[in-house]
């Protein structure tokens, strides 16, 4: 159980959002205009990541090393297609917006990377922990980015037609944040912000360590 938690925690640790993010960049930036979309995109990634981890881990003794990459790719692509078809069938409104990004989950390097680096060498239960941890780490960063862009780009955060948060009406939202350049801009500031927070944390840790 302790081992399980460690694997989960490792994925979740957002000590450096870059490691979580730089590898799934395209979809992250593109769908993060609205919290609602980001939440569903995050779920899709968590599902594909965990399921492909489970399958790869369960058959790790049967998969020959030489052809493991094509096999991983087929497994991942199949789960992506399953997500694609089910979203189209059950949440058509969301699918309309996310539709083009779902197939691109296949080439999200996080998933292939985890299959190769973790699931292929570890037992199923740990692989589930790793998939969930990594997935939730990714999910929280994409949702945070979307929240920033939506809040400051439109002045409110909307969840299925109801406003969750509303800035005062005097706020003139810069539409730029919602366009593509805005994604890069906000993301750049997010990385700088996380560096700043990390530095503060480190400094506090050191200060505590120094105290007798």
């Amino acid at each position: 159980m302790k081992e399980w938690y460690a694997a989960f925690r490792q994925g979740l640790s957002i000590e450096n959002p870059l490691t979580v993010l730089m590898i799934g960049l395209c979809a992250t930036l593109a769908v993060s205009t609205q919290v609602q979309n980001a939440v569903f995109m995050g779920f899709a990634v968590v599902f594909v990541l965990t399921m492909s981890n489970v399958i790869v881990s369960a058959f790790r003794r049967q998969i020959p090393t030489e052809v493991r990459i094509p096999i991983f790719i087929v497994v991942i692509a199949s789960f992506v297609t399953i997500v694609d078809l089910s979203m189209n069938a059950f949440v058509p409104g969301i699918y309309q917006v996310l539709g083009i990004w779902i197939p691109l989950i296949v080439v999200n390097c996080v998933i292939l990377g985890r299959a190769e680096a973790f699931a292929y060498h570890n037992r199923v239960s740990l692989s589930i922990a790793d998939g969930l941890g990594m997935g939730i780490g990714y999910w929280s960063v994409i949702v945070l980015l979307a929240a920033l862009r939506e809040l400051f780009g439109t002045g409110r955060i909307v969840w299925f037609d109801t406003a969750l948060v509303q800035l005062p009406s005097g706020y003139q939202p810069p539409g730029l944040l919602l366009l593509f350049p805005g994604a890069f801009l906000v993301f750049g500031f997010m990385i700088a912000g996380s560096r700043w927070a990390n530095e503060k944390l480190e400094a506090r840790k050191e200060a505590r360590a120094c105290r007798p």
């Binding site: 990459i69 094509p70 297609t81 197939p103 593509f180 890069f184 990385i191």
Partner: protein
């Protein structure tokens, strides 16, 4: 409209107006990954032009003559296309290593990276079943092989152009006085933001 000008529009539309990196957000991993210096970004661009064009022709043929006639395209195209791309990259790498050491040295190490490049998958899918990724709204409902080739060439040249421009900017940035917190990746993102703002200026050219 004559065929030549139609092809030219298709090319410009794919390369600049709907630039895959900066207006469509596809293929960003190498955009930040290898743009650290000019040389690597040139090698990567070359490899992308090469692989993308081959991959698109391959997926076009498979879609037109296998997936579509069998009626399995709707649910098999993702695994099929990604497998085609992956195996193609493998063959190209093996062939280049033997046949052309010069070319292999120039772009060999970037080839494996391309397998997991969304831009290649997106462009290949788009030329096989246009309209899906909405990469270029000037596309009709289906493309001939020639159009698919011109289109992919446009996408990949646009990709290379943006990548090399960005690499040039980043090399200059190395020497610029940047606040400690923003040094490296954060300022790269902000530069990318300005670059993509510039590409918005292309939108609406020639009514594309």
């Amino acid at each position: 409209m004559s065929t030549v000008s139609q092809m030219a529009l298709l090319f410009i539309g794919a390369a600049l107006v709907n630039n895959i990196l900066l207006t469509r957000f596809i293929g960003l991993c190498p955009f930040f990954g290898v743009s650290g210096n000019m040389e690597t970004s040139l090698g990567m661009s070359l490899a992308v032009v090469f692989v993308m064009t081959m991959a698109s022709s391959a997926t076009w043929v498979v879609w037109q003559y296998v997936l579509e006639p069998l009626g399995v395209g709707e649910f098999l195209y993702i695994p099929a296309f990604i497998l085609i791309i992956a195996s193609l990259v493998q063959f190209v790498e093996m062939y280049l290593r033997k046949a052309s050491p010069v070319l292999y040295r120039a772009m060999g190490i970037y080839l494996p990276l391309i397998t997991t490049n969304c831009a290649v998958l997106a462009a290949a899918t788009e030329s096989a079943k246009p309209g899906f990724f909405k990469l270029n709204i000037a596309l009709g409902s289906s493309l001939s092989l020639g159009e698919a080739l011109v289109y992919t060439l446009g996408v990949s040249v646009g990709f290379g152009f943006a990548l090399v421009t960005f690499a040039a900017l980043r090399e200059r940035l190395e020497l610029a006085p940047v606040s400690r917190l923003f040094k490296g990746t954060p300022i790269a993102f902000i530069t990318a933001s300005l670059l993509s703002l510039a590409y918005i200026g292309f939108s609406g050219w020639f009514g594309l």
